[in-house]
Protein backbone atom coordinates (compact mmCIF):
# COMPACT_ATOMS: atom_id res chain seq x y z
CA UNK A 1 0.00 0.00 0.00
CA UNK A 2 0.98 3.63 -0.36
CA UNK A 3 0.39 6.45 2.09
CA UNK A 4 -2.19 8.98 0.96
CA UNK A 5 0.32 11.81 0.66
CA UNK A 6 2.51 9.66 -1.59
CA UNK A 7 -0.48 8.58 -3.67
CA UNK A 8 -1.40 12.23 -4.20
CA UNK A 9 2.17 13.14 -5.00
CA UNK A 10 2.48 10.48 -7.69
CA UNK A 11 -0.93 10.93 -9.28
CA UNK A 12 -1.23 14.72 -9.49
CA UNK A 13 0.66 16.04 -12.50
CA UNK A 14 -0.77 19.49 -13.08
CA UNK A 15 1.22 22.71 -13.20
CA UNK A 16 2.99 23.46 -9.95
CA UNK A 17 2.86 19.90 -8.65
CA UNK A 18 6.02 17.88 -8.02
CA UNK A 19 5.02 15.10 -10.43
CA UNK A 20 3.97 17.72 -12.91
CA UNK A 21 7.45 19.15 -12.68
CA UNK A 22 8.87 15.67 -13.27
CA UNK A 23 6.80 15.13 -16.41
CA UNK A 24 7.80 18.55 -17.63
CA UNK A 25 11.43 17.42 -17.66
CA UNK A 26 10.80 15.19 -20.68
CA UNK A 27 9.66 15.34 -24.27
CA UNK A 28 6.22 13.69 -24.20
CA UNK A 29 3.96 12.52 -27.06
CA UNK A 30 1.33 15.16 -27.76
CA UNK A 31 -0.39 14.37 -31.07
CA UNK A 32 -0.21 12.12 -34.08
CA UNK A 33 0.80 13.93 -37.29
CA UNK A 34 -2.50 12.84 -38.83
CA UNK A 35 -4.27 15.21 -36.42
CA UNK A 36 -2.59 18.18 -38.17
CA UNK A 37 -2.48 16.74 -41.66
CA UNK A 38 -1.73 19.82 -43.75
CA UNK A 39 -0.72 23.47 -43.60
CA UNK A 40 -3.48 25.76 -42.32
CA UNK A 41 -5.63 22.82 -41.26
CA UNK A 42 -8.16 23.31 -38.45
CA UNK A 43 -6.64 23.68 -34.98
CA UNK A 44 -6.98 20.88 -32.45
CA UNK A 45 -7.73 21.09 -28.74
CA UNK A 46 -5.08 19.39 -26.63
CA UNK A 47 -5.06 18.86 -22.87
CA UNK A 48 -1.80 17.68 -21.36
CA UNK A 49 -0.65 17.66 -17.75
CA UNK A 50 -3.93 19.43 -16.88
CA UNK A 51 -3.19 22.36 -19.21
CA UNK A 52 -5.64 23.28 -21.96
CA UNK A 53 -3.81 24.00 -25.15
CA UNK A 54 -4.46 24.42 -28.84
CA UNK A 55 -2.33 22.87 -31.56
CA UNK A 56 -2.08 24.04 -35.13
CA UNK A 57 0.10 23.85 -38.23
CA UNK A 58 0.73 27.14 -39.96
CA UNK A 59 1.05 28.11 -43.61
CA UNK A 60 4.74 27.15 -43.63
CA UNK A 61 4.25 23.78 -42.02
CA UNK A 62 5.46 24.86 -38.59
CA UNK A 63 3.72 23.28 -35.60
CA UNK A 64 2.46 25.33 -32.69
CA UNK A 65 1.14 24.34 -29.25
CA UNK A 66 -0.10 27.15 -27.04
CA UNK A 67 -2.68 28.27 -24.51
CA UNK A 68 -6.12 27.42 -25.87
CA UNK A 69 -7.65 30.78 -24.95
CA UNK A 70 -7.25 34.17 -26.56
CA UNK A 71 -5.48 36.65 -24.32
CA UNK A 72 -8.19 39.22 -25.03
CA UNK A 73 -11.41 37.90 -23.50
CA UNK A 74 -10.73 34.20 -23.11
CA UNK A 75 -12.34 32.80 -26.25
CA UNK A 76 -11.26 29.33 -27.27
CA UNK A 77 -8.95 29.46 -30.24
CA UNK A 78 -10.44 26.17 -31.40
CA UNK A 79 -12.75 28.47 -33.34
CA UNK A 80 -9.67 30.21 -34.75
CA UNK A 81 -8.95 30.89 -38.40
CA UNK A 82 -5.68 29.23 -39.36
CA UNK A 83 -4.42 31.53 -42.09
CA UNK A 84 -1.32 33.36 -43.29
CA UNK A 85 1.11 31.99 -40.73
CA UNK A 86 -1.02 32.36 -37.66
CA UNK A 87 -4.18 31.48 -35.76
CA UNK A 88 -6.69 34.32 -35.67
CA UNK A 89 -9.36 34.55 -32.99
CA UNK A 90 -12.71 35.04 -34.73
CA UNK A 91 -14.07 37.28 -31.97
CA UNK A 92 -11.96 40.40 -32.53
CA UNK A 93 -9.31 39.18 -34.93
CA UNK A 94 -6.33 38.89 -32.59
CA UNK A 95 -3.77 36.65 -34.31
CA UNK A 96 -0.98 34.49 -32.86
CA UNK A 97 1.98 32.77 -34.46
CA UNK A 98 3.19 29.27 -33.56
CA UNK A 99 5.21 30.65 -30.64
CA UNK A 100 2.08 32.21 -29.12
CA UNK A 101 3.26 35.71 -30.00
CA UNK A 102 0.40 38.03 -30.84
CA UNK A 103 1.21 39.36 -34.31
CA UNK A 104 -1.94 41.26 -35.13
CA UNK A 105 -4.47 43.11 -33.02
CA UNK A 106 -6.87 44.66 -35.56
CA UNK A 107 -9.23 45.96 -32.91
CA UNK A 108 -6.47 48.36 -31.79
CA UNK A 109 -5.21 51.43 -33.69
CA UNK A 110 -2.78 50.56 -36.46
CA UNK A 111 0.12 52.40 -34.80
CA UNK A 112 -0.29 50.57 -31.51
CA UNK A 113 2.61 48.31 -30.66
CA UNK A 114 0.65 46.63 -27.90
CA UNK A 115 0.42 43.34 -29.78
CA UNK A 116 4.15 42.84 -29.34
CA UNK A 117 3.61 42.80 -25.58
CA UNK A 118 1.08 39.98 -25.69
CA UNK A 119 2.30 36.37 -25.86
CA UNK A 120 0.41 33.22 -25.01
CA UNK A 121 2.19 30.49 -23.14
CA UNK A 122 3.48 28.08 -25.77
CA UNK A 123 5.54 24.93 -26.02
CA UNK A 124 7.67 23.50 -28.82
CA UNK A 125 5.94 20.88 -30.94
CA UNK A 126 8.20 18.76 -33.16
CA UNK A 127 7.71 15.71 -35.32
CA UNK A 128 9.94 12.70 -34.83
CA UNK A 129 9.26 9.11 -35.68
CA UNK A 130 5.58 9.42 -36.40
CA UNK A 131 4.78 11.40 -33.24
CA UNK A 132 4.44 15.10 -32.51
CA UNK A 133 6.37 15.61 -29.28
CA UNK A 134 6.21 18.52 -26.89
CA UNK A 135 8.34 19.69 -24.01
CA UNK A 136 6.50 21.68 -21.34
CA UNK A 137 9.36 22.53 -19.01
CA UNK A 138 11.65 25.54 -18.70
CA UNK A 139 13.17 26.50 -22.03
CA UNK A 140 16.68 26.61 -20.59
CA UNK A 141 16.43 22.97 -19.48
CA UNK A 142 15.07 21.58 -22.75
CA UNK A 143 16.60 18.13 -23.31
CA UNK A 144 17.75 16.68 -26.65
CA UNK A 145 15.02 15.30 -28.89
CA UNK A 146 13.78 11.79 -28.04
CA UNK A 147 15.92 8.86 -29.14
CA UNK A 148 13.59 5.95 -28.53
CA UNK A 149 14.44 3.37 -31.18
CA UNK A 150 10.89 3.18 -32.53
CA UNK A 151 11.15 6.90 -33.33
CA UNK A 152 14.50 6.71 -35.07
CA UNK A 153 14.08 3.72 -37.40
CA UNK A 154 12.67 4.34 -40.90
CA UNK A 155 8.96 5.09 -40.93
CA UNK A 156 8.09 1.81 -42.66
CA UNK A 157 9.46 -0.09 -39.66
CA UNK A 158 7.28 1.62 -37.07
CA UNK A 159 3.60 2.05 -36.21
CA UNK A 160 2.08 4.24 -33.52
CA UNK A 161 -1.43 4.63 -32.19
CA UNK A 162 -3.00 6.39 -29.25
CA UNK A 163 -6.16 5.82 -27.24
CA UNK A 164 -8.04 7.73 -24.59
CA UNK A 165 -8.02 6.06 -21.19
CA UNK A 166 -10.36 7.24 -18.48
CA UNK A 167 -8.10 6.74 -15.50
CA UNK A 168 -5.11 8.33 -13.86
CA UNK A 169 -1.81 7.71 -15.63
CA UNK A 170 -0.16 5.79 -12.80
CA UNK A 171 -2.61 2.90 -12.54
CA UNK A 172 -2.24 2.50 -16.31
CA UNK A 173 1.57 2.47 -16.11
CA UNK A 174 1.47 -0.04 -13.25
CA UNK A 175 -0.46 -2.41 -15.51
CA UNK A 176 2.36 -2.16 -18.01
CA UNK A 177 4.99 -2.98 -15.41
CA UNK A 178 3.04 -5.78 -13.75
CA UNK A 179 3.95 -8.94 -15.63
CA UNK A 180 2.05 -11.23 -13.28
CA UNK A 181 -1.38 -10.44 -14.71
CA UNK A 182 -0.48 -11.67 -18.21
CA UNK A 183 -0.97 -15.34 -17.31
CA UNK A 184 -4.51 -14.57 -16.29
CA UNK A 185 -6.04 -11.60 -18.02
CA UNK A 186 -4.41 -12.10 -21.44
CA UNK A 187 -4.08 -15.87 -21.54
CA UNK A 188 -6.53 -16.24 -24.37
CA UNK A 189 -4.62 -13.97 -26.74
CA UNK A 190 -1.19 -15.58 -26.94
CA UNK A 191 -2.28 -18.25 -29.40
CA UNK A 192 -4.83 -16.23 -31.30
CA UNK A 193 -3.60 -12.69 -31.79
CA UNK A 194 -1.81 -12.43 -35.16
CA UNK A 195 0.82 -10.13 -33.66
CA UNK A 196 1.77 -12.61 -30.91
CA UNK A 197 1.11 -16.14 -32.08
CA UNK A 198 3.55 -18.64 -33.51
CA UNK A 199 6.71 -17.64 -31.64
CA UNK A 200 8.79 -20.49 -30.22
CA UNK A 201 8.99 -18.66 -26.90
CA UNK A 202 5.23 -18.91 -26.47
CA UNK A 203 5.61 -22.57 -25.56
CA UNK A 204 7.46 -21.55 -22.42
CA UNK A 205 4.65 -19.19 -21.47
CA UNK A 206 2.08 -21.90 -21.95
CA UNK A 207 4.14 -24.62 -20.33
CA UNK A 208 4.92 -22.66 -17.18
CA UNK A 209 1.99 -20.60 -15.96
CA UNK A 210 3.72 -19.49 -12.78
CA UNK A 211 6.64 -17.32 -13.78
CA UNK A 212 9.07 -16.03 -11.19
CA UNK A 213 9.92 -12.37 -11.31
CA UNK A 214 13.09 -10.43 -10.80
CA UNK A 215 13.25 -6.67 -10.62
CA UNK A 216 16.53 -4.84 -11.15
CA UNK A 217 17.29 -1.15 -11.27
CA UNK A 218 18.31 0.22 -14.65
CA UNK A 219 19.84 3.61 -15.40
CA UNK A 220 16.51 4.92 -16.66
CA UNK A 221 14.13 3.00 -14.42
CA UNK A 222 13.78 -0.76 -14.01
CA UNK A 223 14.27 -4.05 -15.78
CA UNK A 224 11.44 -6.42 -14.91
CA UNK A 225 12.36 -9.99 -15.70
CA UNK A 226 9.93 -12.88 -15.78
CA UNK A 227 11.57 -16.29 -15.85
CA UNK A 228 10.10 -19.60 -16.83
CA UNK A 229 11.58 -23.05 -17.09
CA UNK A 230 13.28 -23.93 -20.37
CA UNK A 231 15.25 -26.97 -21.51
CA UNK A 232 18.42 -28.26 -19.86
CA UNK A 233 17.65 -26.52 -16.57
CA UNK A 234 17.96 -23.14 -18.24
CA UNK A 235 15.53 -20.28 -17.81
CA UNK A 236 13.53 -18.45 -20.47
CA UNK A 237 13.60 -14.79 -19.52
CA UNK A 238 11.26 -12.09 -20.79
CA UNK A 239 12.67 -8.71 -19.81
CA UNK A 240 10.49 -5.59 -19.83
CA UNK A 241 12.03 -2.14 -19.81
CA UNK A 242 10.49 0.67 -17.79
CA UNK A 243 12.06 4.09 -18.33
CA UNK A 244 10.81 7.04 -16.33
CA UNK A 245 8.37 8.35 -16.13
CA UNK A 246 6.01 6.23 -18.20
CA UNK A 247 7.72 4.31 -21.04
CA UNK A 248 7.55 0.55 -21.20
CA UNK A 249 8.75 -1.94 -23.80
CA UNK A 250 7.64 -5.55 -23.73
CA UNK A 251 9.88 -8.46 -24.65
CA UNK A 252 9.58 -9.55 -28.29
CA UNK A 253 8.12 -12.84 -29.49
CA UNK A 254 9.86 -14.54 -32.40
CA UNK A 255 10.14 -12.25 -35.39
CA UNK A 256 7.06 -10.23 -34.48
CA UNK A 257 7.30 -6.47 -34.11
CA UNK A 258 8.31 -5.24 -30.66
CA UNK A 259 5.79 -3.18 -28.77
CA UNK A 260 5.42 -0.87 -25.84
CA UNK A 261 3.68 2.15 -24.43
CA UNK A 262 3.82 5.65 -23.03
CA UNK A 263 1.12 6.86 -20.66
CA UNK A 264 0.75 10.63 -20.69
CA UNK A 265 -1.49 12.48 -18.23
CA UNK A 266 -4.26 14.47 -19.83
CA UNK A 267 -5.38 15.52 -16.37
CA UNK A 268 -5.40 13.66 -13.08
CA UNK A 269 -8.33 11.44 -14.11
CA UNK A 270 -7.55 10.69 -17.73
CA UNK A 271 -4.50 9.80 -19.78
CA UNK A 272 -3.38 9.02 -23.31
CA UNK A 273 -2.11 5.50 -23.85
CA UNK A 274 0.38 5.66 -26.71
CA UNK A 275 1.14 2.27 -28.23
CA UNK A 276 4.02 1.57 -30.59
CA UNK A 277 5.03 -1.44 -32.63
CA UNK A 278 8.28 -1.50 -34.54
CA UNK A 279 10.96 -3.78 -35.86
CA UNK A 280 14.59 -2.67 -35.67
CA UNK A 281 15.74 -4.48 -38.79
CA UNK A 282 12.84 -4.94 -41.18
CA UNK A 283 9.85 -3.20 -42.64
CA UNK A 284 6.47 -4.01 -41.10
CA UNK A 285 4.41 -6.10 -43.49
CA UNK A 286 1.08 -4.98 -44.90
CA UNK A 287 -0.56 -7.74 -42.89
CA UNK A 288 1.04 -6.52 -39.67
CA UNK A 289 0.06 -2.90 -40.24
CA UNK A 290 -3.41 -4.00 -41.25
CA UNK A 291 -3.76 -5.97 -38.04
CA UNK A 292 -2.57 -2.98 -35.99
CA UNK A 293 -5.03 -0.66 -37.71
CA UNK A 294 -7.75 -3.25 -37.08
CA UNK A 295 -7.09 -3.09 -33.34
CA UNK A 296 -5.06 -6.26 -32.91
CA UNK A 297 -2.08 -6.64 -30.61
CA UNK A 298 -1.88 -3.68 -28.25
CA UNK A 299 -3.94 -1.42 -30.49
CA UNK A 300 -7.69 -0.86 -30.38
CA UNK A 301 -10.70 -0.26 -32.57
CA UNK A 302 -12.04 3.25 -32.22
CA UNK A 303 -15.45 4.81 -31.98
CA UNK A 304 -16.36 7.26 -34.70
CA UNK A 305 -14.38 10.44 -35.07
CA UNK A 306 -11.96 10.31 -32.17
CA UNK A 307 -9.41 8.23 -30.29
CA UNK A 308 -11.79 6.82 -27.74
CA UNK A 309 -11.92 3.02 -27.97
CA UNK A 310 -15.03 1.50 -29.47
CA UNK A 311 -15.31 -0.71 -26.38
CA UNK A 312 -15.52 1.71 -23.46
CA UNK A 313 -17.24 2.26 -20.16
CA UNK A 314 -20.35 3.65 -21.82
CA UNK A 315 -21.12 0.25 -23.39
CA UNK A 316 -19.70 -1.90 -20.57
CA UNK A 317 -16.69 -2.54 -22.79
CA UNK A 318 -18.89 -4.76 -25.04
CA UNK A 319 -18.33 -7.46 -22.46
CA UNK A 320 -19.12 -10.98 -23.69
CA UNK A 321 -19.96 -13.17 -20.71
CA UNK A 322 -20.39 -16.22 -22.94
CA UNK A 323 -16.84 -15.80 -24.21
CA UNK A 324 -15.65 -15.43 -20.63
CA UNK A 325 -17.44 -18.60 -19.56
CA UNK A 326 -16.16 -20.49 -22.58
CA UNK A 327 -12.58 -19.40 -21.83
CA UNK A 328 -12.09 -17.46 -25.03
CA UNK A 329 -11.34 -14.41 -22.92
CA UNK A 330 -10.57 -14.30 -19.21
CA UNK A 331 -12.56 -11.18 -18.35
CA UNK A 332 -15.09 -11.20 -21.16
CA UNK A 333 -13.50 -8.14 -22.74
CA UNK A 334 -11.83 -8.53 -26.10
CA UNK A 335 -8.37 -7.24 -26.96
CA UNK A 336 -5.28 -6.88 -24.83
CA UNK A 337 -5.43 -3.13 -24.37
CA UNK A 338 -9.11 -2.99 -23.46
CA UNK A 339 -8.67 -5.97 -21.17
CA UNK A 340 -6.19 -3.80 -19.28
CA UNK A 341 -8.01 -0.47 -19.64
CA UNK A 342 -11.40 -1.79 -18.53
CA UNK A 343 -9.99 -3.09 -15.27
CA UNK A 344 -7.81 -0.04 -14.69
CA UNK A 345 -10.75 2.30 -15.29
CA UNK A 346 -12.89 0.24 -12.91
CA UNK A 347 -10.47 1.13 -10.12
CA UNK A 348 -11.90 4.66 -10.26
CA UNK A 349 -10.40 7.81 -11.74
CA UNK A 350 -7.57 7.77 -9.19
CA UNK A 351 -7.25 4.50 -7.34
CA UNK A 352 -6.93 4.73 -3.58
CA UNK A 353 -3.67 2.94 -2.89
CA UNK A 354 -4.10 3.15 0.88
CA UNK A 355 -6.54 0.25 0.58
CA UNK A 356 -4.29 -2.11 -1.38
CA UNK A 357 -3.20 -5.56 -0.30
CA UNK A 358 0.03 -5.99 -2.22
CA UNK A 359 1.84 -9.29 -2.51
CA UNK A 360 5.40 -10.24 -3.38
CA UNK A 361 4.71 -10.37 -7.12
CA UNK A 362 3.90 -6.67 -6.92
CA UNK A 363 7.53 -5.88 -6.13
CA UNK A 364 8.03 -4.32 -9.56
CA UNK A 365 5.22 -1.88 -8.94
CA UNK A 366 6.50 -1.18 -5.43
CA UNK A 367 9.98 -0.47 -6.71
CA UNK A 368 8.69 1.73 -9.55
CA UNK A 369 6.74 3.85 -7.09
CA UNK A 370 9.81 4.26 -4.94
CA UNK A 371 11.95 5.15 -7.93
CA UNK A 372 9.44 7.81 -8.92
CA UNK A 373 9.18 9.19 -5.39
CA UNK A 374 12.95 9.43 -5.12
CA UNK A 375 13.25 11.07 -8.53
CA UNK A 376 10.57 13.63 -7.70
CA UNK A 377 12.22 14.45 -4.37
CA UNK A 378 15.67 14.78 -5.94
CA UNK A 379 14.29 17.04 -8.65
CA UNK A 380 12.34 19.29 -6.30
CA UNK A 381 14.88 19.40 -3.48
CA UNK A 382 18.12 19.39 -5.45
CA UNK A 383 17.24 20.18 -9.04
CA UNK A 384 18.57 16.77 -10.06
CA UNK A 385 17.69 15.73 -13.62
CA UNK A 386 15.52 12.62 -13.37
CA UNK A 387 16.37 9.30 -15.02
CA UNK A 388 15.04 8.94 -18.53
CA UNK A 389 15.86 12.44 -19.71
CA UNK A 390 19.32 11.45 -20.93
CA UNK A 391 18.98 10.07 -24.47
CA UNK A 392 21.27 7.20 -23.44
CA UNK A 393 18.44 5.99 -21.19
CA UNK A 394 16.11 5.97 -24.20
CA UNK A 395 18.32 3.90 -26.51
CA UNK A 396 17.09 0.68 -24.98
CA UNK A 397 15.35 -2.54 -25.94
CA UNK A 398 13.42 -5.26 -24.27
CA UNK A 399 14.64 -8.85 -24.70
CA UNK A 400 13.65 -12.48 -24.56
CA UNK A 401 16.60 -14.81 -23.89
CA UNK A 402 17.46 -18.24 -22.53
CA UNK A 403 20.15 -18.20 -19.86
CA UNK A 404 21.88 -20.56 -17.43
CA UNK A 405 20.19 -20.81 -14.03
CA UNK A 406 22.50 -18.64 -11.95
CA UNK A 407 23.31 -15.92 -14.43
CA UNK A 408 21.95 -12.45 -13.65
CA UNK A 409 19.75 -11.57 -16.60
CA UNK A 410 21.11 -8.04 -16.62
CA UNK A 411 24.49 -9.58 -17.32
CA UNK A 412 23.38 -12.29 -19.72
CA UNK A 413 21.23 -9.93 -21.78
CA UNK A 414 23.48 -6.90 -21.43
CA UNK A 415 23.97 -6.28 -25.16
CA UNK A 416 20.40 -7.22 -26.01
CA UNK A 417 18.98 -4.51 -23.72
CA UNK A 418 20.64 -1.73 -25.69
CA UNK A 419 19.32 -0.46 -29.03
CA UNK A 420 21.92 -1.27 -31.66
CA UNK A 421 21.06 -0.13 -35.20
CA UNK A 422 21.01 -2.95 -37.70
CA UNK A 423 21.04 -5.65 -35.02
CA UNK A 424 17.99 -7.85 -34.68
CA UNK A 425 16.21 -7.87 -31.31
CA UNK A 426 16.87 -10.70 -28.86
CA UNK A 427 13.80 -12.91 -29.19
CA UNK A 428 12.86 -16.57 -28.92
Amino acid sequence: MLRQEHNELLTQAGAGTPMGRLFRSYWIPALLPEELPEDDCPPVRVKLLSERLIAFRDSNGRYGLMDEFCAHRGVSLWFGRNEECGLRCPYHGWKYDVTGQCIDMPSEPEQSGFASKVKLKSYPLVERGGVLWTYMGPADAQPPLPEWEFATVPAAQSFMSKRFQESNWLQALEGGIDSSHVSFLHRGDLNTDPLFKGARGNQYNLGDMRPVFEVVESPGGLYIGARRNAENDHYYWRITQWVMPSFTMIAPRGNHAVHGHFWVPIDDENCWAWSFDYHPTRVLTDEEVGAMRAGKGIHVKYGPGNYRPLANKDNDYLIDRAAQKAGRTYSGVEGISMQDASLQESMGPIVDRTKETLVSTDSGIIMARQRLLRAVKALVDEGMTPPGVDPVHQRVRSAAVILPPDQPFKDGAREALIARPGVAPAAV
Binding site: L2, F213, E214, D316, E345, G348, T354, S360, D406
Partner: protein, 146 residues
Protein backbone atom coordinates in the same frame (compact mmCIF):
# COMPACT_ATOMS: atom_id res chain seq x y z
CA UNK B 1 -28.58 6.79 -19.60
CA UNK B 2 -25.03 5.92 -18.59
CA UNK B 3 -23.98 2.29 -18.60
CA UNK B 4 -23.33 0.73 -15.27
CA UNK B 5 -19.57 0.72 -15.93
CA UNK B 6 -19.61 4.43 -16.72
CA UNK B 7 -21.62 5.26 -13.64
CA UNK B 8 -19.79 3.05 -11.21
CA UNK B 9 -16.25 4.06 -12.18
CA UNK B 10 -16.91 7.78 -11.68
CA UNK B 11 -15.33 9.91 -8.96
CA UNK B 12 -18.81 10.43 -7.49
CA UNK B 13 -19.32 6.71 -7.00
CA UNK B 14 -15.82 6.30 -5.59
CA UNK B 15 -17.04 8.15 -2.49
CA UNK B 16 -19.25 5.19 -1.64
CA UNK B 17 -16.48 2.65 -1.50
CA UNK B 18 -15.96 0.93 1.80
CA UNK B 19 -13.43 3.20 3.41
CA UNK B 20 -11.78 0.78 5.75
CA UNK B 21 -9.27 -1.43 3.94
CA UNK B 22 -9.93 -5.14 4.32
CA UNK B 23 -8.23 -6.45 7.42
CA UNK B 24 -5.43 -8.76 6.42
CA UNK B 25 -3.52 -9.44 9.62
CA UNK B 26 -0.73 -10.53 7.32
CA UNK B 27 2.27 -11.96 9.08
CA UNK B 28 5.54 -11.18 7.35
CA UNK B 29 8.77 -12.75 8.56
CA UNK B 30 12.07 -11.16 7.60
CA UNK B 31 15.18 -13.34 7.67
CA UNK B 32 18.69 -12.12 6.84
CA UNK B 33 20.94 -14.59 5.07
CA UNK B 34 24.35 -13.12 5.93
CA UNK B 35 26.02 -10.81 8.41
CA UNK B 36 25.77 -7.78 6.16
CA UNK B 37 22.04 -8.06 5.67
CA UNK B 38 21.68 -8.97 9.34
CA UNK B 39 22.86 -5.50 10.33
CA UNK B 40 20.27 -3.96 8.04
CA UNK B 41 17.53 -6.20 9.40
CA UNK B 42 18.51 -5.39 12.98
CA UNK B 43 18.14 -1.69 12.22
CA UNK B 44 14.73 -2.23 10.70
CA UNK B 45 13.55 -4.36 13.61
CA UNK B 46 14.00 -1.41 15.97
CA UNK B 47 11.27 0.54 14.16
CA UNK B 48 7.54 0.20 14.68
CA UNK B 49 5.88 -2.46 12.60
CA UNK B 50 2.50 -4.06 12.26
CA UNK B 51 2.61 -7.79 11.68
CA UNK B 52 6.30 -7.99 10.72
CA UNK B 53 8.72 -10.11 12.70
CA UNK B 54 12.46 -10.15 12.29
CA UNK B 55 14.81 -13.06 12.89
CA UNK B 56 18.53 -12.98 13.18
CA UNK B 57 20.56 -15.15 10.84
CA UNK B 58 21.65 -17.33 13.73
CA UNK B 59 18.11 -17.74 15.01
CA UNK B 60 16.75 -18.62 11.60
CA UNK B 61 18.01 -22.17 11.56
CA UNK B 62 16.42 -22.90 14.93
CA UNK B 63 13.21 -21.06 14.21
CA UNK B 64 12.21 -22.74 11.01
CA UNK B 65 9.05 -24.00 12.61
CA UNK B 66 8.15 -20.37 13.22
CA UNK B 67 7.77 -19.83 9.50
CA UNK B 68 4.53 -21.75 9.75
CA UNK B 69 2.99 -18.65 11.27
CA UNK B 70 4.07 -16.45 8.38
CA UNK B 71 2.05 -15.51 5.32
CA UNK B 72 5.17 -14.32 3.55
CA UNK B 73 8.85 -14.80 4.23
CA UNK B 74 11.19 -12.10 3.00
CA UNK B 75 14.85 -13.06 2.85
CA UNK B 76 17.50 -10.35 2.65
CA UNK B 77 20.88 -11.10 1.12
CA UNK B 78 24.02 -9.21 0.21
CA UNK B 79 25.39 -9.77 -3.27
CA UNK B 80 28.47 -11.96 -3.05
CA UNK B 81 27.77 -13.23 0.45
CA UNK B 82 26.99 -16.83 1.29
CA UNK B 83 23.26 -17.27 0.86
CA UNK B 84 23.18 -21.04 1.36
CA UNK B 85 20.69 -20.62 4.22
CA UNK B 86 18.11 -19.81 1.56
CA UNK B 87 17.83 -23.51 0.76
CA UNK B 88 16.91 -24.49 4.31
CA UNK B 89 14.50 -21.63 4.71
CA UNK B 90 13.08 -22.14 1.25
CA UNK B 91 12.49 -25.84 1.84
CA UNK B 92 10.71 -25.13 5.09
CA UNK B 93 8.49 -22.55 3.39
CA UNK B 94 7.87 -24.74 0.38
CA UNK B 95 6.65 -27.60 2.60
CA UNK B 96 4.20 -25.23 4.25
CA UNK B 97 3.18 -23.47 1.01
CA UNK B 98 4.48 -20.14 2.26
CA UNK B 99 5.58 -17.73 -0.49
CA UNK B 100 9.06 -16.30 -0.33
CA UNK B 101 10.62 -13.17 -1.71
CA UNK B 102 14.26 -12.17 -1.57
CA UNK B 103 15.77 -8.74 -1.69
CA UNK B 104 19.43 -8.76 -2.74
CA UNK B 105 21.34 -5.65 -1.84
CA UNK B 106 24.01 -5.09 -4.39
CA UNK B 107 26.70 -2.71 -3.25
CA UNK B 108 28.65 -0.66 -5.76
CA UNK B 109 31.66 -2.93 -5.43
CA UNK B 110 29.81 -6.20 -5.98
CA UNK B 111 30.80 -7.81 -9.25
CA UNK B 112 28.52 -9.68 -11.65
CA UNK B 113 30.24 -12.90 -10.56
CA UNK B 114 29.48 -12.16 -6.92
CA UNK B 115 25.86 -11.37 -7.73
CA UNK B 116 25.62 -14.47 -9.87
CA UNK B 117 26.84 -16.61 -7.01
CA UNK B 118 24.16 -15.27 -4.68
CA UNK B 119 21.42 -15.55 -7.29
CA UNK B 120 22.35 -19.17 -7.91
CA UNK B 121 21.66 -19.90 -4.26
CA UNK B 122 18.44 -17.97 -3.83
CA UNK B 123 16.63 -18.37 -7.13
CA UNK B 124 15.45 -21.92 -6.57
CA UNK B 125 13.82 -20.77 -3.31
CA UNK B 126 12.31 -17.38 -4.12
CA UNK B 127 9.10 -16.61 -5.93
CA UNK B 128 10.22 -13.04 -6.34
CA UNK B 129 13.69 -11.53 -6.41
CA UNK B 130 14.51 -7.85 -6.20
CA UNK B 131 18.04 -6.62 -6.76
CA UNK B 132 18.42 -3.17 -5.25
CA UNK B 133 21.34 -0.84 -4.88
CA UNK B 134 19.60 1.13 -2.14
CA UNK B 135 19.25 -0.54 1.27
CA UNK B 136 16.24 1.68 1.99
CA UNK B 137 14.28 -0.33 -0.51
CA UNK B 138 13.89 -3.19 1.97
CA UNK B 139 11.93 -0.93 4.30
CA UNK B 140 9.92 0.41 1.35
CA UNK B 141 9.01 -3.14 0.39
CA UNK B 142 7.97 -4.11 3.90
CA UNK B 143 5.90 -0.95 4.41
CA UNK B 144 4.02 -1.73 1.18
CA UNK B 145 2.84 -5.05 2.61
CA UNK B 146 0.27 -3.61 4.94
Amino acid sequence: MLSESARMSSAAEARFRIQAPPPTARAVMVIPLDSGSERLVATLSARTWNGVTFLSASAAADALTDVAAADLVVMVASAGADASAAATIGEACSRRRIPTATCVIRGASASETALSSTLGQIRPWSLMVVIASDRDYVEDLLRSFR
